[in-house]
Structures are given as structure tokens and as C-alpha cells.
């Protein structure tokens, strides 16, 4: 068993520098790497490019880095629900590359799996396809999208072991597995770091080979963005 365990978030983020490209898992505030984000704020790295489906909310998630003016460029599919994000984008302070969500996921998966680029129908005929190569296959038009190139991927899993094997829970899975192995260094934080051998080999979502560093995160807030409930009759 190849040991990927590091002792804390400081060790986990060792080597993160200004101007790097960072991938961060999560959908809205669900499944975001809370500990890595807090450490990025503490490190105060500047001019980073963040690849993340959303940018959190004003005072949580990647919103914290936006408030702190650490982000030069966001690559995301959805801005809604984050006023500061929209403000920085519309004012031109923040560079934003809006990417269809499925394309965003596949650009991660392509990097993970060694594909240089792929053809997707998403965005054909829209401004997303401007300046990009397009091509017809079987009468349908596709856009060529390159794989992402990132320095670090920050991933949040539910359970993991020192071998780097991961299990995700519910919809907090989202982009997290696709980002594993998609950057030079994949850093995973888990809620529960279990003994090696405890996870069923049939039910490991991400094998440890895609992971470089793993640690157990502290104090997950797991904030809910839209608490929607019904009343018991």
C-alpha cells in the first residue's frame, strides 16, 4: 500500500503558489473542500485561476477567495447566487470563462484519463464556441474542447484511506471524482479517514492511484444553500 496520508491541511497544500491553476470540487456549497479553501485564504495566494462549477456564496466557499481578491480568473458554469462574483465579473475585475457544465466535467475527466481534447455538441452555435474548432459527425455539429491543465486539484470525499481510496456520499460527489488525477497534484480531504482495508474494494469510487495527498478535514460546516422542506401532515 502506497501511503498518501499527510498530517494536516498545511502539509496538504504545500507547494501552492501565486499564479497557479487550481481545481476545486463541489456543486454550489455541496461537497466543497472546506479545509483546503480555508488554507488557501490563510496562505493568501494571489492571482490564482480557479476551475470550479460555482464560486460559492459571498461569505462561504470560493466566495471567501473572491472577497479576498485572490482569484484572477474563474472557470465555471454558473455564477448565480453569488453577488460578489457577478459584480467582479461585470466590472471586469475578474476574468471569467463560462463553460457548459458537462463540458467542465469532461475537461476534468479528459485530463484525468489522458485525452488531449474532445468533441462535444454543447455550446455549438453560441458564443462559447467562438474561436473554437467545430466539426460535423453524422450530421451533427460538435465543438472541440481541450482538457484542463491544472497544478492542484482540491477534492472533498466522505470516506478515504491512507492508500488514497475514496468514497463519496450523495450529491456531494459531483465534480470531485472527475478532478482526481486531473491536476499535477490531487489533494483530498475526507470527513472520515478509515483504516486501509476497511473500504470494500468493489465500492471504491476513486482508486488511490489518482490521489497524491489525503487528510482528515476538521470542523465541516456543510452549509445548506437552499433549505427546502415540507411539513409533516
Amino acid at each position: 500500500m502506497i501511503n498518501k496520508k499527510v498530517n494536516n491541511v498545511q502539509q496538504a497544500l504545500h507547494g501552492v503558489k501565486d499564479h497557479m491553476t487550481l481545481m476545486l470540487g463541489g456543486f454550489g456549497l455541496c461537497g466543497i473542500p472546506e479545509n483546503a479553501i480555508a488554507e488557501l485564504v490563510r496562505l493568501n495566494v494571489k492571482n490564482v485561476t480557479c476551475i470550479s462549477n460555482n464560486a460559492g456564496v459571498d461569505d462561504f466557499g470560493l466566495g471567501l477567495l473572491l472577497q479576498n481578491k485572490q482569484i484572477k480568473k474563474m472557470i465555471s458554469s454558473y455564477v448565480g447566487e453569488n453577488d460578489e462574483f457577478e459584480r467582479q465579473m461585470l466590472s471586469g475585475e475578474l476574468e471569467v470563462e463560462l463553460t457548459p457544465q458537462g463540458t467542465l466535467a469532461e475537461k476534468c475527466r479528459a485530463a484525468q484519463a489522458g485525452f488531449p481534447a474532445f468533441y462535444t455538441p454543447a455550446g455549438f452555435g453560441t458564443e462559447v464556441a467562438e474561436g473554437k474548432e467545430t466539426r460535423e459527425f453524422d450530421g451533427k455539429m460538435y465543438v472541440l474542447e481541450p482538457a484542463f491543465k491544472a497544478d492542484f486539484a482540491f477534492v472533498k470525499a466522505w470516506k478515504g484511506d491512507a492508500a488514497g481510496n475514496l468514497v463519496f456520499k450523495g450529491t456531494s460527489r459531483n465534480f470531485n471524482p472527475n478532478m482526481c488525477g486531473a491536476a499535477v497534484i490531487t489533494v483530498v480531504e475526507v470527513e472520515d479517514l478509515v483504516e486501509v482495508g476497511e473500504l470494500d474494494p468493489n465500492h471504491i469510487h476513486i482508486p488511490g492511484i489518482f490521489v497524491q495527498r489525503i487528510f482528515e478535514g476538521a470542523n465541516y460546516e456543510k452549509r445548506i444553500e437552499q433549505r427546502t422542506v415540507r411539513q409533516k401532515q
Binding site: G28, L90, L98, A105, T126, T171, R173, N174, N178, H205
Partner: protein
């Protein structure tokens, strides 16, 4: 009388057939789930990674790790599954989802749709909408027929940045059900008490009216 959001959702629910996998967008489309007939089997897919969504959780039972694409807390039905984003869009791009219902700011008579950006004013982002409209073969748009200033959103040509080209098959608004084909909106049904003339006046795009147009039955 023009429909409200729930009325639009109720009418769209009639389009959902037994055995359909359905993706519901944010807003009015989300409401459609409330009106689907109970004697048919339907599964709802949400692009953030769940198939087999159920109703909202009871108060106190919400789980931060189980949400829909609108970031709302949800529950799952027996037979549900969770998966990653790449797999979710494999379902969408691979045409495994039977019906996509989404909102729009504008639709055009050639099937174009715009719903993600107003240049220099508002940018929500396309989320999964561009993938959905580029891949789905059965796309129903839920929207208001006109904007707050009374201007038509059912157009000859979209003025806003597009989400997808030539993809919309049906539009259900507060006034009408429209089929989009042959570069025109074909009027299929009127909202209860709404006249063809009212619909015509609210429609900038080419409107084809053939024979008697029935009222929706809701």
C-alpha cells in the same frame, strides 16, 4: 385567464409520459414534478448527480449532501442512484434522458433559445443548459409569454446570447402551448379564457394558427 407558474407546470406535466427519465431545470420546471400523474412511472434526473429524486425532505430531515441542481435539499425514491458530474452528462449527452424541461428568457421560431446572459447586465451562467439543449431531442420550454414591460419573448430571432440553436420542440407559456417547427410557432392550445388574438398580439415570431384552437384542459 393567463396561467400562473403553477398552471404552466401543471400543463407541462401532461407531456410527461410513462417510463420517461426527465431533467427539470431551475424555476417553473422544478414545479412540474408536483403535477405528474400518479399512475405513471417517471424518474427525475438532476445534473448535479442524482437519478430518482423524491419530494423535499421533512423539516429536520434535510441533508446538506443531498441536493438538486437548484441547490435545494431533496430526498430520493427507492431505486435512486448518485453519480459524478461526468456520468451525469453522459446520461444527457448520450440521449438517455427522454425529456428536458427548462426556462428561457427568449425563444425564436427556428428553435433557438437564450437563457443565460444579458450582456453587461446579468450573467447567471449556462450551468448544464447548453449541454441539455445541445443533446436532448425533446425539449420543452416553460416561460412567460412576455416580459415585465409586455414585450414578447416568443421571437422571430433571439436578441440575447444563445444557449442553443434550433433545439426547442415545444413552448408552454402563461398564454399558450406552441409547437416549434418549420421556422414557426404552431399554436396548439390556449390558456383558459385567453383568445387567439391575445396570443397573436403577444407573439413577435411567426404564429401559425390552423383551425379551432382548443383551450388547455388542466
Amino acid at each position: 385567464m393567463a396561467l400562473d407558474k403553477n398552471g404552466i407546470a401543471k400543463r407541462i406535466a401532461q407531456e410527461v409520459q410513462d417510463g420517461f427519465y426527465v431533467n427539470l431545470g431551475i424555476g417553473i420546471p422544478t414545479l412540474v414534478a408536483n403535477y405528474v400523474r400518479e399512475d405513471i412511472e417517471v424518474e427525475f434526473q438532476s445534473e448535479n448527480g442524482v437519478l430518482g429524486m423524491g419530494p423535499f425532505p421533512f423539516d429536520g430531515e434535510e441533508d446538506a449532501d443531498i441536493i438538486n441542481a437548484g441547490k435545494q435539499t431533496i430526498t430520493t425514491m427507492p431505486g435512486a442512484s448518485f453519480f459524478d458530474s461526468a456520468t451525469s452528462f453522459a446520461m444527457i449527452r448520450g440521449k438517455h434522458v427522454d425529456l428536458t424541461i427548462l426556462g428561457a428568457m427568449e425563444v425564436a421560431e427556428n428553435g433557438d433559445i437564450a437563457n443565460w446572459k444579458i450582456p453587461e447586465k446579468m450573467v447567471k451562467g449556462m450551468g448544464g443548459a447548453m449541454d441539455l439543449v445541445a443533446s436532448a431531442e425533446n425539449i420543452i420550454v416553460a416561460m412567460m409569454h412576455t416580459n415585465k414591460r409586455g414585450e414578447s419573448k416568443i421571437l422571430k430571432q433571439c436578441s440575447l446570447p444563445l444557449t442553443g440553436v434550433g433545439c426547442v420542440t415545444k413552448v408552454v407559456t402563461n398564454l399558450a402551448v406552441l409547437e416549434v417547427k418549420d421556422k414557426a410557432f404552431h399554436l396548439l392550445e390556449r390558456a383558459p379564457g385567453v383568445s387567439v388574438e391575445e396570443i397573436q398580439n403577444a407573439t413577435e415570431g411567426t404564429l401559425v394558427v390552423k383551425g379551432d384552437i382548443p383551450e388547455m384542459s388542466l
